[in-house]
């Protein structure tokens, strides 16, 4: 009988530290599947973020580096420039990519670095205890917005993907979601595209993934998926931005 499904070679077969219902595990696996399918495991170098996914290198079975908070795209820029033959990607959360690392994000994209960035948007800082993120929705309660995000004091959810899409050197940006199996399949497709673009030397590609954080949203895993579908996608519309 032909084997048609198995554990990805690029993902270690161990349990993760993520909370129940967290999206990180799904995206880790999707990346591992894409890396296997593209046959690039021995060429891939991942740059992991500071945040909940800080120890992603314990889960992926390929070369990885840590980076200081926000600096993943600076680190990745150098790795790729030094080793253009390798496939280099960053995996970053909303605080890492769109708050402390906004500068590195914009300039790596604007230089058109031939990199792939997987951007996990869960509208909250998870690792540090559920504080407001740049992508936190208006009225969303967090540890640092106990009465909900108020535009008057906290500004609006930052649409970094839309901002990056206007840059001429950026080749591909797509926003996807994990709120249903169909959306997960679309997410994998987008991730694969973002890696393929790098293989084809096309330039900067970014996939923004709307991802559940039941723990700091104060919702069950299922309600978290519904919240993405009903609330979050209204603020962060899905689809290809560039």
């Amino acid at each position: 009988m032909q084997k048609i499904f198995s554990h990805p070679k690029s993902l270690r077969n161990i349990s993760t530290h993520y909370c129940p219902g967290c999206g990180h595990g799904i995206v880790h696996r999707l990346i591992a599947e894409v890396v296997d399918e593209l046959g690039i495991r021995e060429k891939v170098i991942a740059v992991c973020p500071v945040g909940c996914a800080v120890i992603a290198y314990d889960y992926w079975d390929f070369d990885c580096s840590e980076a200081a908070h926000g600096r993943a795209l600076a680190v990745a820029t150098a790795i790729k420039r030094v080793r253009p033959e390798n496939i280099v990607f960053t995996y970053q959360g909303d605080g890492d990519l769109a708050a402390i690392g906004t500068n590195e994000t914009i300039h790596a994209a604007n230089r058109g670095e031939n990199l792939t960035t997987i951007f996990i948007n869960n509208a909250v800082y998870g690792m540090t205890g559920g504080q407001m993120a740049p992508t936190t929705l208006l009225k969303q309660k967090t540890a640092t917005t106990p009465k909900g995000r108020d535009a008057k004091y906290h500004g609006y959810p930052l649409k970094i993907s839309e901002m990056l899409a206007i840059l001429p050197a950026v080749k591909y940006i797509e926003r996807v979601s994990l709120h249903s199996p169909q959306e997960v399949i679309k997410t994998k497709k987008a991730i694969k595209q973002a890696f393929q673009n790098q293989i084809d030397n096309l330039g900067f590609s970014l996939v923004e993934v709307l991802s559940p954080c039941p723990t700091y949203w104060g919702l069950t895993p299922k309600d978290s998926l519904d919240w993405i579908k009903e609330v979050m996608v209204k603020e962060f519309p899905l689809g290809r931005l560039k």
Binding site: E42, D63, A67, G70, R71, A78, V82, R83, I106, H107
Partner: protein, 367 residues
């Protein structure tokens, strides 16, 4: 016969790095080190190596982190305020045990200060600078010749110990022009073939670098160790390394120590001026000597200890373009066994030969 060319200290730093096989440079404009960035922009391009004008000092040091993790000799340069911004990155480089070279062409501080030469970042360079228990190796060139030669030494030490190395220069050394005698290296465009050999050999020897996991287990560059006791083990390994560096890598230059009663202590540009004062006083028969620390960390405390044990009733006069930072290391090395005096100026003020001699007259009647 060795070829002689005229270069500024900043250009000599750039060329020294290039001759030492530096494959990656990232920098951000700041005075008085802009000539390094401009020089690298031109030369790295010529040699088909990587030059990036980074969006910030933070990005530049983290690019150096990435390039080093990828296995090549990587350099960044800046001046005092920019070096402050790099401290987080230097701490990560130390924590991940990556080799890297960082040049600080010091200017006046604190804050934005001014663009005049200063030696006010000694504490920052020699006492970690960033967070955590770590040390960077610190080299202090005092001539354009040394600015050139110390770059190879810096990269060699960085690779040997997998540790950040700081070149601590100042605005005067960076800007001044001197003839540079090229003895160790040939000042020519390295052929593409040679470049590739350098490139490959540096990769072969570094089995820990990120190259893609073909034919081996994945490599991970990290400084995070959450499990109980694991970080402490890393810290102990680092301390062992620092101790080895302290034992093996102390460097200094000395002048007229055998019969000296007063010994000047100065580094970098300041040592040039101190040396002139020593020569002038020696011509008048005064028994004066000089110690010029070349490694600021590890501080060359062995020479001071040796002199302190000699029971000669020595007086040390520390001269700095700061208000007394290296002074603390001299005092720690002597541990109360000799008299230590200090003279310093900063903020654009540079101690002159006359001021040094005047200070000597005040503190010592032995001369």
């Amino acid at each position: 016969m060795a070829e002689k060319i005229l270069l500024t200290g900043n250009e000599a730093i750039g060329e020294g790095a290039i001759q030492a096989g530096c494959q990656f440079y990232a920098g951000y404009p700041i005075t008085p080190q802009n000539e390094i960035t401009a020089y690298m922009a031109k030369r790295m391009l010529e040699l088909n190596r990587v030059f990036i004008q980074a969006e910030s000092e933070l990005a530049a040091i983290n690019m150096v982190f990435g390039a080093s993790a990828a296995g090549v000799r990587a350099l960044t340069s800046s001046s005092s305020p920019g070096i402050s911004l790099k401290q987080e990155g230097i701490s990560y480089i130390a924590g991940c045990q990556l080799p890297a070279v960082i040049v600080n062409v010091m200017r006046g501080g604190p804050g934005l200060g001014n663009i005049a030469p200063a030696q006010s970042d000694y504490f920052q360079a020699t006492r970690s600078g960033g967070h955590g228990d770590y040390y960077s190796i610190v080299l202090a060139p005092s001539s354009v010749q040394e600015a050139f030669e110390f770059m190879k030494l810096a990269f060699d030490l960085a690779d040997k110990y997998r540790n950040p190395v700081i070149i601590l220069a100042d605005g005067m050394l960076g800007q001044m022009m001197e003839p540079l005698e090229v003895t160790s290296y040939k000042l020519q465009v390295i052929s593409k073939k040679q470049k590739l050999i350098t490139h490959n050999s540096s990769l072969i020897t570094k089995e820990w670098t990120l190259t893609g996991c073909k034919g081996r287990k994945p490599n991970i560059i990290r400084s995070l160790y959450l499990a109980e006791g694991v970080l402490e083990k890393l810290n102990l390994r680092l301390q062992k390394k620092y101790k080895a560096i302290q034992q093996k890598e102390q460097r200094h230059e000395s002048l007229n120590l055998s019969d000296a009663k007063v010994i000047l202590v100065a580094y970098g540009t300041m040592a040039r001026i101190a040396k002139s004062a020593v020569k002038r006083l020696r011509d008048k028969g005064k028994k004066i000597g000089l110690i010029r620390p070349i490694t600021l960390w590890p501080f060359p405390n062995n020479i001071f200890r040796r002199l302190a044990m000699s029971n000669k009733r020595l007086t040390f006069l520390v001269i700095e373009m700061s208000y007394g930072q290296m002074l603390e290391d001299v005092r720690l090395s002597l541990n109360g066994r000799a008299k230590v005096e200090f003279f310093g100026r900063a903020g654009g003020g540079i101690p002159t030969e006359e001021e040094i001699i005047k200070k000597l007259e005040v503190i010592s009647d032995k001369l």
